[in-house]
Symmetry: C2
Subunit: 193 residues, 2 copies
DNA sequence: AGGCTACTATGACGGCCGTCATAGGGGGTG
DNA sequence: CACCCCCTATGACGGCCGTCATAGTAGCCT
């Protein structure tokens, strides 16, 4: 997360804060403090106000999740659906173990939280889409029929998001490891060649 | 939702409002208005303040979800894991179709949202537990080994919660129907007798 | 009747929110 | 130098928040 300009830092910090506080509870003053950004720049870079800032943070999160998928695949010698899913899950178990359960998924937070604006809801939908696309593409590359790939990707994201939720509530990664274990064989079963 | 006292109405209204606004965005004044309850009673019935009110709402939601499971089973001639899951999913697709995508799961909202207090987080964990227990019990009754039943219940709740999230973001029930369809055979495969 | 308890009414308090108006720096260009 | 444009500084505004103090009212118990 190299040294970027104030604008990018604010978007990134917004995503970070949304992850643990939710949209409504994240104040713009908190954002500038976290980003160590000049407060006066807020209205300058984000004339659309908090709504614009939040939307950009959600966009950022969607792109980040998508990139992660590609990175997981790049690190695998012989990728399989279950291995990809295991990597996605492990990313979260590792993070929970390392820094605690306070930070969840920003896209989930933006979806659930608050008097979320229509535009923010649309940003969340786009983020889920951006996340699912590389998964489905990867599954096809592993031999899953295109017809089944998007459904499988939806299942993977759903199970992961739900398990993240439960893990945070229980402060225990068990839900995550459970879904990875139980879903693995089913996912590999989609492969036809 | 028969005519209850003001106290119960406030708890119920809190759950309703949390479902669509989140915890932080739900104001106490909104609650009394929605419950048509006397404002002066808030501090009387809930000396623990908003925190207590939210916790009771989450508790209520957990019990409600658990009761729903029993009601689903009662309405089935020959219950199977996939049929139970389909019923759980259908409850949500029906609700989304009927009243829109504005209302999600209150337990998810309480988990994700905000400067949620430790006690609220614990209430959410208890709610998930209360929800999962009757599912696991039902699975055992259908012939799923006890060893596998809790894992399967966790998978079902995870996939459902995640799909609810995606469905709300996309304003489309497709994610829900997808997980029901894809997970069905796996769930029935747990049955050994 | 008197008194005690359970409940309700009302308004004020301090605090934080997102937004905006105003003004100042500061470097590159004419 | 003068100018302009991009960025930043600062403080005020109205509004809503959760909480609390104070003052009632209603009804049962003895």
């Amino acid at each position: 997360m190299a040294e970027r300009g104030p604008r990018e830092r604010m978007v990134f910090s917004t995503a970070q804060l949304i992850r643990r506080e939710g949209v409504t509870a994240t104040g713009l003053r908190d954002v500038v403090a976290h980003a160590e950004a000049p407060r006066g720049s807020l209205g300058h870079y984000f004339p659309g106000g908090k709504e614009q800032l939040v939307n950009e943070a959600v966009d950022w999160a969607g792109r980040y999740a998508a990139n992660r998928i590609d990175r997981f695949l790049a690190g695998m010698a012989r990728p399989t659906p279950s291995r990809l899913f295991a990597a996605m899950v492990r990313q979260w178990t590792d993070e929970f173990a390392a820094i605690g359960f306070d930070q969840g998924c920003p896209v989930a937070a933006a979806t659930v939280d608050a008097s979320v604006t229509e535009s923010t809801r649309a940003a969340a939908a786009a983020a889920f889409s951006a996340w699912r696309a590389p998964i489905a593409r990867a599954l096809v590359g592993m031999g899953v029929p295109a017809r089944k790939a998007t459904a499988a990707a939806t299942l993977m994201v759903s199970a992961l998001e739900g398990a993240i939720l439960i893990a945070r509530a229980e402060r225990d990664t068990r839900a995550l490891t459970t879904v990875a274990r139980e879903l693995g064989p089913l996912l590999d079963g989609y492969v036809t060649r």
